[in-house]
Every structure is written in structure tokens, then in C-alpha cells.
Symmetry: C2
Subunit: 145 residues, 2 copies
């Protein structure tokens, strides 16, 4: 048993703090009639929107046809799982706006050329923190017994 | 520099092994004209499909209107990031098929009633392993100097 409430909502401030702490999120987007989902490196642009980089001709550019996207980060630390889910609109950045992204900590983990910069404008953001109920983790034999 | 190729494709067997090792994935689905994305606890059903549980009336039941879904797991261990992305079709299980899911290690982390069992049939599965290029992690000052 625990004294923690099982689930609490995060404030917008807590959501942005969690987004700042993460480098890997998952982006869901429309491609024709299908929903697609990819892990992406991202950065936060002025607590206002997210930015990602992608390659010319990538599947991900399907989002230029239908801007409606969803984005998620999550994290599990000990018995606490947190997640932030965003719904928003994606659009490609050009010129000075795209160049400005070089100043953000947007660091692709894979060394390939990704000249296209995409911003995700946030329409809705929901953060949740769960105090986990995982009794099976406590069923291990006590090594001192 | 590294001797590893930066990205390798995982075999189906490696994808299923990774899915077995994970308890938390992310599910993207259509809800009317929008794409939605939620973290979900899941289990593998006989290396053939995934199963999840949800509550009556949950947003996630949008997938009963449009079965087209995408699902993702990922993991970062040291300098290696792996992910599996699935595209498939979701449908609710009933009766004996739903009861059989009680035998799988489908263990919701949050203690709430989730009587609805949903299977995700796998149409396409793509696994990737990236040997990460994160030079900034190696830019820390050497504590011995």
C-alpha cells in the first residue's frame, strides 16, 4: 500500500520541464489514410513549440500533407512513471527560422544528413505522473532470508 | 570514431525478443480526423500479436471505429538505441479469447479497472538498432586531469 495518489496531472510548467529533460520522443502523424509513429530526437523551442530534424524525402514529411500530429515523451524512475502527450500541428521551417534552430540543443543521435527542420506547435498538452502499482517487483525472495 | 555500423535492421526474431522485454509501449490511433498517441502497458500474445487493456469509454476505444494503428517500443542502453515500430489493426477481444489474456504477463502499472481487452494484429514490423553518435557525452572534463 502507498500514501501516494495513483495518478496526478502535471502542470504546464512541469510538462515543459520534462520535455526539456528528454531528447527522444515519439511522433505520430498521418500518411495518406494511415497513422504512422516514429521515435525522434527533438528540442524545445522557447517553451512554446518543439523542433525536430528530418531527411529530404523521409516518410515523416507526410506531415506536410496533414499537419495534425501527436507527440509523446515518458520516463520511469523507480516507482514513478511520467508522461507528456501533445497534440499539435507540424510545419516546416525555412530561412532564418530554420537557421535559429542551430542554437537549440537538438542533437540527432544518428549521424546522417537531416536538413529539413520541422516545428510542432502545441495545441493541447497533458502530463501525468503515476505512482506505480507493480506488486510483482516486490515478490522477489529477500536475499537476507 | 567507432567500428560499428551506425544503424542495423533487426530481424523479426529480435523484434519479438525486444517486445517481450518491454512492458510499456506507445499506441497511435485515429480518433475522428485526428491522430492520438498514448503510452500503454502491453503483452505479447504468442509472437503473433500484442494485447492491451483499457477502460470502458476510454478515448482509446476510438480504435474500434478505425482499426488502423501504429505501436512503438524503444530502449537506450549505453550508446545503443533500439526501437521497434509496428503498423497493424486493432480489435476488441471477447469471451474465451479475452479470458485467455489473463494468462499473459499483461500487468497494468496503474491500479484501475480495465475490462476491455484489445488485440493489435501485426501487419508490418520494423526494428532498428542505432550505435549512437553523441559526442557531447564525451566532452565532459576528465576528472583525473
Amino acid at each position: 500500500m502507498t500514501d501516494h495518489p495513483p495518478t496526478v496531472e502535471l502542470s504546464d510548467e512541469e510538462c515543459w520541464a520534462m520535455l526539456h529533460d528528454q531528447e527522444l520522443g515519439r511522433l505520430a502523424f498521418h500518411l495518406a489514410d494511415e497513422v504512422h509513429l516514429v521515435p525522434v530526437n527533438f528540442a524545445v523551442d522557447h517553451d512554446r513549440r518543439l523542433v525536430i530534424r528530418t531527411a529530404e524525402g523521409s516518410k515523416l514529411l507526410g506531415l506536410t500533407m496533414n499537419a495534425d500530429v501527436a507527440f509523446e515523451v515518458d520516463e520511469v524512475v523507480d516507482d514513478v512513471a511520467s508522461s507528456v502527450v501533445i497534440r499539435g500541428r507540424a510545419h516546416e521551417l525555412h530561412g532564418a527560422e530554420a537557421d535559429a534552430v542551430d542554437q537549440l540543443p537538438l542533437r540527432p543521435w544518428v549521424d546522417e544528413v537531416r536538413p529539413v527542420v520541422v516545428a510542432i506547435e502545441v495545441d493541447e498538452m497533458t502530463g501525468r505522473r503515476h505512482h506505480l502499482h507493480r506488486p510483482w517487483l516486490h515478490l522477489r525472495p529477500d536475499p537476507d532470508e
